[in-house]
């Protein structure tokens, strides 16, 4: 199922073609780790993930990390050093079979272990869809809480990298947001990735954790070296504003942030929210923001039709109808397969967002 093109991510940082996205350093946010004095180190996102996995394996002897090519450190280097430190029985390669990886992980998790499974690219998660949707998500419910696989965490890199084409670029999160019983989490930065991944691993429910592979090497930030967790199902206001609320997650937030900066130059005050957990999501925080600003824009890389933006839009219209000054705007991927040469046209770029901000504010 996976292609021979899997090492694409390693090349991402060397390739210039994604530069048009104009990534800028991610938003500064207060340290929410609870320990302001914790020593920090400037690391990129894959290193932050790697730290979290080291901590997870170290803090719980019943935790396991596995997936395709995980043993030598993984094609994105997220599992570097784990097998050497914790042994090949706890950190191991699996056969190339996504439904096997997730099925095996469910069984392991059902025995009171923390099973941290890697799907090499989110584009290849679909052979495991049945195991995730029909098995992991219903394991607790169908047994009347006699059994659960809450120790299961499925990590998968998602999203555009500039040259990934159909099968190294997709953002499949909305498929999983339609499944009661699992949680879907997407971090935006190294510090967030570490804290949210540790929470996901330790959460007593199965979690699908999508990692923005665009940011693996590009996003660098001060990350506390200690063990810390960030709460699931809690969104965060990254930038306060009064004219319009922008909601996004993962790598898209940096694009949205740039649009907010541009809009500010034109006198528009944007409030930017990182949803972090897509299900169950923090509706209350988005609702409170929209009640304040009266306008909402959602942006994601996945195709606009049936994307999670549609759910946010519908929910907020239900709750804030009389407070809305304009229709809810969605700036998302196009309804085409993810294209190679046409990627710059497909993506919800800064100027598309900026235009949508202006037309919504001037509605």
């Amino acid at each position: 199922m996976a292609s021979s093109f899997r090492r694409i991510g390693k090349l991402a940082s060397k390739n210039q073609s994604w530069r048009y996205r104009g990534f800028s350093s991610i938003v500064e946010t207060p340290n929410k780790s609870g320990d302001q004095l914790s020593p920090t180190k400037s690391v990129n996102l894959f290193s932050a993930i790697n730290q979290a996995l080291h901590i997870a394996l170290d803090s719980d002897p019943r935790s396991y990390v596995f997936g395709e090519d995980v043993g030598f450190g993984g094609v994105f280097r997220c599992t570097t050093g784990l097998a050497d430190r914790f042994g090949k029985q706890r950190v191991f390669n699996t056969p190339l079979c996504e439904q096997g990886i997730v099925g095996f992980a469910i069984g392991l998790a059902a025995m009171d272990n923390r099973a941290i499974a890697e799907i090499q690219f989110a584009d290849y998660i679909f052979p495991a869809f049945d195991q995730i949707v029909n098995e992991a998500a219903k394991f607790r419910y169908r047994s009347g809480n006699q059994f659960n696989c809450g120790g299961l965490t499925i990590r998968a890199p998602y999203g555009a990298v500039g040259h990934g084409g159909h099968y190294h670029s997709q953002s499949p999160e909305s498929f999983f947001c339609h499944v009661p019983g699992i949680k879907v989490v997407i971090p935006r930065s190294p510090k967030e990735a570490k804290g949210l991944l540790l929470s996901s691993i330790r959460d007593p429910n199965p979690v699908v954790f999508f990692e923005p592979k665009m940011l693996y090497r590009m996003a660098v930030e001060e990350v506390p070296e200690d063990d810390y967790m960030l709460p699931l199902s809690e969104a965060e206001v990254l930038r306060e504003g009064t004219d319009i609320t922008l909601v996004g997650w993962g790598a898209q937030l940096s694009v949205m942030e740039q649009a907010c900066v541009e809009a500010a130059k034109e006198g528009i005050s944007c409030e930017l929210i990182d949803l972090k957990t897509l299900i169950p999501w923090d509706k209350e925080m988005v609702e409170a923001s929209v009640k304040k600003t009266g306008r909402l824009l959602i942006s994601h890389e996945a195709p606009v039709t049936g994307g999670f933006g549609a759910e946010i839009s519908a929910s907020i219209v239900e709750r804030c109808f009389t407070r809305l000054e304009a229709p809810v705007a969605r700036v998302c991927g196009l309804d085409t397969p993810f294209p190679l040469v046409f990627e710059p046209f497909y993506l919800p770029t800064k100027n598309k967002i900026l235009d949508a901000i202006k037309s919504t504010v001037n509605y």
Binding site: Q89, F92, T94, P95, C97, Q99, G100, V102, G103, F104, A105, I106, G107, L108, A109, A110, M111, D112, N113, A115, P127, D130, Q131, N134, E135, K138, R140, Y141, R142, S143, G144, N145, Q146, F147, N148, G150, P180, G181, K183, P204, N205, S233, P280, K283, E284
Partner: protein, 459 residues
């Protein structure tokens, strides 16, 4: 191609059948017949000297000449010979008792004590009676659905009897006998079927989706074969915990066509997980016969391709199933490896109460398997011949189990349904705000339209 053929002695070598040497199944102690093999792996990248034939070339095959590949050394041959699509003879079926319940002379099997034999027999009869009465209850409209194990009682009970309570069972759905053997009461079965308050599954799943944490029996789920890769994961956990236990995962012939069959066997083999893959090859996947399911000689032969030791047994011979499962268990645990057992049988019943199998198969065939080939009858002949059982015991057993089952149904029918809150609990460990909101909404709606909702679900 021309160059390769030019020195070949005859093109007759092409497509010649390879003779697969089947292991002898007189398993004194099954393990001694097998030499565990793990090919020595070498690093890739060495130059492969494919032209180094020398004089051995004329023999067409030279054990001393090998090629080094990443998976290990491979002998070379000058014959272009394809492996046959099947062996010349079908894989034999291990049997202990013949059709009349006589021990086959020279057969080697695990001895079964009188006490164990009688327990096995009475549990098979209870399973059969349970199926008859629950099936009738469904026909009377008291149950929404049912599915029997008729004809497969020996696989159910004899495999269960060969395990210990610490062994973990991942069922498909035609193995309630395993649960019965482990002590699930008739009342517990009835409670699940009626989806009442006492059902451990809180009335959320269709009838026959039993499960018991206490009895190490994972809850049944309808999707086929999903339990196989999970079994590898469960078994890996047992191995890491150094438990003297294995996993037994059940499935049918149809299941082997699913991708998860491949995933499960391959993962278990590679991870060296102590799992017994127990296939009930009953000939039918609803209306699809095995001839339309696969072209292979059944299931057991597939094991070898995965590096899994395998056996085919007569699933209607309780002593054969018991012996094979015992041996499989011992190898799985002691040697930390998966074992594949193919139990040959026949699905005497319809697939379920939603099916009428006479539409796609011959009634005479069904009848023959139901009577002459019944695993219960065969086992009874053996215990009766041993002087352990008499006709009067039979009457008492059947009467008693029928009475208990009828009472269980009557009791289960009277128990109220699970409370409405169980609709929303257990989706997650804690109820998220969207579900709290939806619960409030439903409760509010019920107040306004009380007659539209089931009266027997407490609010």
């Amino acid at each position: 191609m021309e160059i390769l053929f030019s020195k070949s002695r005859s093109l007759n070598y092409l497509l010649q059948s390879s003779r697969t040497c089947w292991h002898h199944y007189r398993n004194k102690s099954a393990a001694i017949f097998f030499i565990p093999r793990r090919f020595e792996s070498i690093k890739a990248g060495e130059q492969l000297d494919v032209y180094n034939y020398k004089e051995d070339y004329h023999d067409g095959h030279d054990e001393h000449q090998t090629l080094n590949f990443p998976g290990g050394k491979v002998p070379i041959t000058s014959q272009m010979k394809f492996i046959s699509e099947s062996s010349e003879k079908r894989l034999p079926c291990y049997r202990v008792l013949d059709d009349d319940g006589y021990l086959i002379p020279g057969t080697i099997f695990e001895q079964v004590s009188k006490g164990l034999a009688l327990n096995m027999y009475s549990t098979m009869v209870t399973l059969q009676t349970m199926d008859t009465i629950f099936y009738e209850a469904q026909r009377q409209g008291r149950l929404s659905f049912y599915l029997t194990s008729t004809g497969e009682e020996a696989i159910n009970i004899a495999s269960a009897a060969a395990l210990t309570p610490d062994d973990i069972v991942l069922p498909q759905y035609r193995e309630p006998g395993v649960l019965l053997w482990r002590g699930f009461t008739l009342q517990e079965f009835a409670d699940q079927l009626f989806g009442n308050k006492a059902d451990y599954g809180k009335g959320r799943q269709m009838p026959i989706h039993y499960g018991s944490n206490k009895l190490n029996y994972f809850t049944v789920s309808s999707p086929l074969t999903t339990q196989l890769p999970q079994a590898a994961g469960v078994a890996y956990s047992l191995k890491m915990d150094k438990k003297e236990a294995c996993v037994v995962v059940y499935f049918g012939d149809g299941s082997t066509s699913e991708g998860d069959f491949h995933a499960g066997l391959n993962f278990a083999a590679v991870m060296e997980a102590p799992v017994i893959f127990l296939c009930r090859n009953n000939g039918w996947a609803i209306s699809t016969p095995v001839t339309e399911q696969f072209r292979s000689d059944g299931i057991a032969i597939k094991g070898q391709a995965y590096g899994i030791r395998s056996i085919r047994v007569d699933g209607n011979d309780a002593l054969a199933v018991y012996s094979a499962t015992r041996a499989a268990r011992q190898m799985a645990i002691k040697e930390r490896r998966p074992i594949l057992v193919e139990a040959m049988t026949y699905r005497v019943s319809h697939h379920s109460t939603s099916d009428d199998s006479t539409k796609y198969r011959c009634v005479k065939e069904i009848e023959q398997w139901k009577t002459a080939k019944s695993p219960i009858t065969r086992f009874r002949k053996w215990i009766q011949r041993n002087g352990w059982w008499a006709d009067q015991n039979e009457t008492g057993l059947r009467k008693n189990s029928r009475k208990q089952i009828v009472e269980a149904i009557q009791a289960a029918e009277k128990v109220e349904k699970p409370p409405l809150t169980d609709l929303f609990s257990d989706v997650y460990d804690k109820m998220p705000s969207n579900l709290q909101e939806q619960e409030r909404f439903i409760r509010d709606t019920i107040k306004r339209y009380p007659k539209e909702y089931p009266f027997d679900v407490p609010q």
